[in-house]
Point group: C2
Chain length 492, copies 2
């Protein structure tokens, strides 16, 4: 049974090579600049305002790639305070960037210029769980791991889990429609959210959390519009999440595969033999494995083989004997180089650490170009191979890993010599164009943030982007909410 | 194993008492009236136009409560034809009501006045299934049962199932965010829809189906806005649905309970003992049971007891032995009056027919006031008891049944003497107000249609409704799409 994992908190790791900040969009000239009088006014409306040097850590993103120049961080304790801050900023044309746990990877939660940071971390009350329905109601600032621990006490679990669980907030998860490792079992967070309270740019509180039951078809799905909009349409303050029952018995298998085709066959066999107890199917290639093993010298790969892929298959069920029998049948049915089942909880944790540790391992070693894409499984790994080939002459490390059960690849290119324009130019827009050509998504689960608005057109039609622009202007007519993010300037 | 059921098709049953049509909203004076020249023009743009007497059946809803006066039904065969019809109607200010299988229960898919009917039933191509991901792509007009049969051939299933499966279309399911009997297992259709193509009021085709993978976080969730908007924001033409793997082994238990508290305990025990194989928890009270037994003289209730509740518990799993063992444990753990497990597929079908036959059984017997609400399980059945008490002096039949696993109650009041204003006045708005007082939803899964716009405010705040109105005006500035539905006139 796995109740805790090793790496659950994003750390601001000491990086070998400091990254140059990204080139940023030009500041919108219609936005005002914060004056001392504004700070005084916001102090009167919000119970906590962080200023000066204390505001600095809120400006720099976890990836160490994006840095804003916000002078203040507003940390409201209530929805009313959020409303008061936004109403003021909207009136004064002051831009606002909402921030949760700041674990995003596309620069969505840090300012680009001098936007006011609105941190939701004090909206951290868990209001309660309806044990009949499994719906939990809580503030946007509740940390995912805290929420999950609370739910487990009552035999439920959060419908999502990800490496940053110890730091990220449920509000940030919703704002980015975060995916993670339970997606293959429980589907999208979007599907689990049954109620939302949010505040519009002008300070209007929109209460769509009056009913907190699983079924409610009264009118348009306003919460769904907010989910995944990355703080550009409103600020999420409260949510109602339908949570699955806890499946208390957990097993983890660790397999070595000789090809990505073998990885795909593992997935198909897992679906048919493990059926409803399948809870995660993750993969790492050799590059990812080497990086994570190097970063975790205390953990050994239990499989002594040079096979180029590892697959982590997790089951979660309500009957230990049945689950073990299904796992046995799965192991008999697959044809792989080698494999094992974690014999203890700590062995499970170690395997999960290897998988979830890849991202940190890459980032702490050099400058990393990170891509989060979904691709048709039949051609998913081709992108890693093509990237390796394309950069062969440049002495960089290419790694592919991710949620193979959801057709979600994380492609990382690590350069221990630091950022090089030459590498960047070979990767972008090429990676995104390759993905779009295969009808994949250029952002599977990490969102668009400030890194990808100019590539949105690769996945979305002109008509779809125009409509997004129209909706943005209805919800935020002065365009103060998280500017330079998600949508390209051309549709505004 | 249950592969087919008895009642899968809505029939226009001969009703004992014809119902008066509902009082309807006043016709919007800004809308044009269809002229002969318009019909000629639409004939040039759309390969099939139904006129005159042939259009009549499309005007009257399945409930026999609502009837429009559309002169024509446009039945486009392609998205381009849908676009051409809408562009013309938008330019001429002709209102349009989109119609799928016409099985809705709130008058959403029939015109209120003389709106042009746009029938999607010819958009019925299943484009294909990606067997790696389980995502199926198909036209909006594909009948749910047809889609499910196609998926089963490939070891997947549709993520939803409902009594009208043989008639309703997947486009209509999406437009109404249909719930049904698999919701407890697979969640909302909203969560399963990973891509959508739709046409805006002005004929613009919005293609959000370029990627058809489970994860895609590129921009705002336009498909989600369409889902559940009941044809008022656009016309859904194509969809990509992520489908669960088939769980081939099915069992059905049928239990008799002495109180609704016992029913609730069955649900809790089912969750803990059946865990991940639980696929439906449905209930019927005595009124519902009597009605369905009367309508199906060929089916006997296998439990010879007067206990006032029946609960149908279905499991679906991938291992017959494990599933049987879990079912055994479940049966041992519950404390109910009586119970049995269906020994054969036909016995299972018979039990499902009793459950799914309630709605038809009530409707064919007299005039039925139907309510579809969700309520906190602890007080869910109170509404049925209060209704019975309230109408005690009026000699009507009150029945409660539904998806107890989703806290979704169907409350039916059947009057064999036909419609009576006196009954109606005692039921509405009282039922809706009672539900709202308990923080339940006045429309759990059936939508708002033309029956409930004036009650929307009971569940949604003024701010939420105003925002819905703003979105409507952005998407459909001339308000031609399905007028008089979903939103109250006050927000437009």
């Amino acid at each position: 049974m796995r109740l805790a994992r090793h790496i659950r908190r994003r750390t601001d790791a000491v990086r070998s090579f400091s990254a140059p900040t990204m080139p940023v969009a030009k500041r919108h000239d219609w936005l005002s600049t914060l004056e001392d009088a504004d700070v005084a006014n916001l102090n009167a409306r919000c119970s906590k305002i962080i200023e000066g040097a204390d505001a600095k850590p809120y400006n720099r993103d976890w990836m160490d790639k994006c840095e804003g120049k916000a002078r203040i961080v507003a940390q409201p304790a209530t929805t009313e305070e959020v409303s008061a801050v936004l109403a003021y900023c909207n009136e004064k044309r002051l831009a606002v960037t909402t921030q949760g746990g700041k674990t995003g990877l596309v620069g969505g939660s840090v300012p680009v210029h001098d936007e006011v940071i609105l941190s939701t971390t004090r909206l951290n009350t868990i209001e309660g769980l309806d044990k009949d329905t499994g719906v939990v109601t809580c503030g946007a600032g509740v940390v995912l791991e805290t929420l999950d621990a609370y739910l487990r006490e009552h035999d439920f679990v959060a419908p999502l889990d990800l490496g940053a669980a110890g730091t990220c907030t449920i509000g940030g998860n919703l704002a980015t429609n975060a995916g993670g490792v339970r997606f293959v079992r429980y589907g999208s967070l979007r599907g689990a959210c049954v109620g939302l309270e949010f505040v519009k740019a002008d300070g209007t509180v929109v209460d769509c959390a009056r009913t907190s039951l699983r079924k409610d078809n009264t009118g348009y799905a306003l919460p769904q519009l907010l989910i995944g909009s990355e703080g550009t349409l409103g600020v999420i303050t409260k949510c109602c999440i339908a949570c699955p029952s806890l499946s208390p018995f957990v097993n983890v298998a660790w397999l070595a595969c000789n090809s990505f085709d073998e990885v795909r066959k593992v997935l198909t066999t897992a679906r048919s033999t493990l059926g409803e107890i399948l809870s995660a199917v993750e993969f790492l290639d050799r590059g990812a494995l080497d990086a994570t093993l190097r970063a975790h010298p205390d953990i050994e790969d239990p499989l002594e083989t040079d096979a180029p892929f590892r697959v982590l298959v997790e089951t979660a069920g309500c009957d230990a004997t049945h689950d073990a029998a299904k796992l046995e049948r799965f192991l008999e049915a697959i044809d792989v180089e080698d494999g094992c089942v974690a014999p203890t909880t700590s062995a499970m944790n170690a395997l999960w650490t290897l998988r979830e540790g890849v991202s940190d391992a890459m980032t702490s070693r050099g400058f990393v170009y990170k891509y989060d894409v979904s691709l048709p499984p039949s051609t998913l790994y081709d992108l890693v191979e093509k990237t390796t080939e394309r950069l062969e002459h440049l002495d960089v490390d290419v790694a592919g890993y991710g949620h193979v059960g959801d057709a979600n690849l994380h492609l990382n290119v690590c350069d221990v010599t630091g950022y090089r324009e030459e590498v960047h130019a070979l990767l972008e827009p090429w990676v995104y164009e390759e993905v779009a050509r295969s009808r994949g998504s250029i952002s599977a689960e990490h969102g668009v943030g400030q890194c990808k608005p100019e590539y949105l057109h690769l996945n979305k039609s002109v008509e779809a982007m125009d409509l997004m622009g129209s909706l943005k202007k209805v919800m935020d007519p002065h365009l103060i909410l998280n500017p330079y993010k998600v949508l390209p300037a051309s549709v505004l």
